[in-house]
């Protein structure tokens, strides 16, 4: 399975995502520049955290026009896995690949600390290795992670099982304690917490590992299924 880690001007967690794929999965992974126009070699696209374009104007607002984003949309359409973390989540919502938007934290302050997440849907390609309702410790580090969507959208999210993670104790004011959502098809996930920072004992928690193993297991299953067919 081949991973792409997108790099926008101002991406910071590109290296963290890269290291996580390498250390947890040992699968091939490439940095892919924001100007790239072909993502066809990749099976999973990671949109990393950071401050793309300084997060000036709004987080993710400028990056979503990068040439590579057309390819991300295409990949999402094709059913490939797309995972946006933190700034990556913001970019995906700005690009309309995920519903909602992210506002300033209620505290008005950047918040960096461990949070407890509840796995709300373990039927997605990103969460299948977790138990339903499992509580995991994943750090957050953001100033604008306060998820918003209107009532109607929220109902839809609930009905479709698009809410992947909720915070046990809401750190930022997110609607319905939402920490991460998927698209309707379930192959695009955006989340504010950083699973790639939770893959090594020395960093404090390894609860993010299962996100990466989920992805590869989901892919293998698809792949094997395809081979059988």
């Amino acid at each position: 399975m081949k991973f792409a880690v997108l790099v926008f001007p101002g991406s910071n967690c590109d290296i963290d995502c890269y290291k996580a794929v390498e250390s947890v999965l040992g699968e091939p992974v490439d940095y892919v520049w924001h100007t790239a126009t072909d993502l066809s070699p990749y099976d999973c696209i990671l949109v990393p955290g950071g401050f793309s374009y300084g997060d000036y104007l709004r987080c993710g607002a400028i990056s979503r026009f990068a040439p590579v984003m057309n390819e991300v949309a295409k990949a999402a359409e094709e059913g490939k896995f797309v995972l946006g973390i933190c700034n990556g989540f913001q970019i995906l919502t700005e690009a309309g690949l995920l519903p909602g938007a992210l506002r300033r934290n209620m505290s008005m302050k950047f918040a960096c600390r461990d949070t407890v997440l509840k796995v709300e849907n373990n039927q997605t390609p990103f969460t299948r290795d977790y138990e339903a309702g499992e509580e995991i410790i994943i750090p957050i580090a953001h100033g604008e992670g306060n998820y918003y969507c209107d009532e109607e959208t929220l109902e839809e999210l609930r009905a479709n099982g698009q809410i992947a993670f909720r915070y046990k104790s809401n750190p930022n004011g997110s609607v319905d304690d939402i920490a991460g959502v998927t698209n309707k098809q379930g192959n695009v996930l955006g989340m504010m917490p950083h699973p790639e920072r939770a893959v090594n004992e020395i960093l404090g928690t390894v609860d993010g590992k299962k996100m990466f193993t989920s992805i590869i297991n989901a892919w293998r299953e698809q792949h094997d299924a395809a081979n059988v067919r």
Binding site: L57, A61, F65, E94, N105, M108, N146, Y148
Partner: protein, 80 residues
């Protein structure tokens, strides 16, 4: 031609920044502030374009980039 663009958070959306600033004003004794909304204010120099054209262009800038219409409203004025 000059454009002034105002981007504000929708009435229906809670605006953390507005809430925080209002709270701060109250604690400074400005209790008369019953509500406060914060938005962005942008001034654009557009060079030599006619008003009609500018109208459409600025609208399109707002829709595409300057505002996120999921949570924000915008309006603009053209001058000169």
């Amino acid at each position: 031609m000059k454009a002034k663009v105002y981007v504000t958070i929708k009435q229906s959306v809670l605006d953390p920044q507005g809430v925080a600033v209002q709270g701060a004003l109250h604690s400074l004794g400005f209790n008369e502030v019953e509500s406060l909304r914060i938005g962005k204010y942008m001034e654009l120099e557009l060079g030599d374009v006619n008003k009609e054209e500018a109208e459409g262009r600025v609208k399109s800038m707002c829709e595409k980039l300057l505002a996120n219409t999921v949570v924000e409203d915008y309006r603009y004025e053209l001058e000169g």
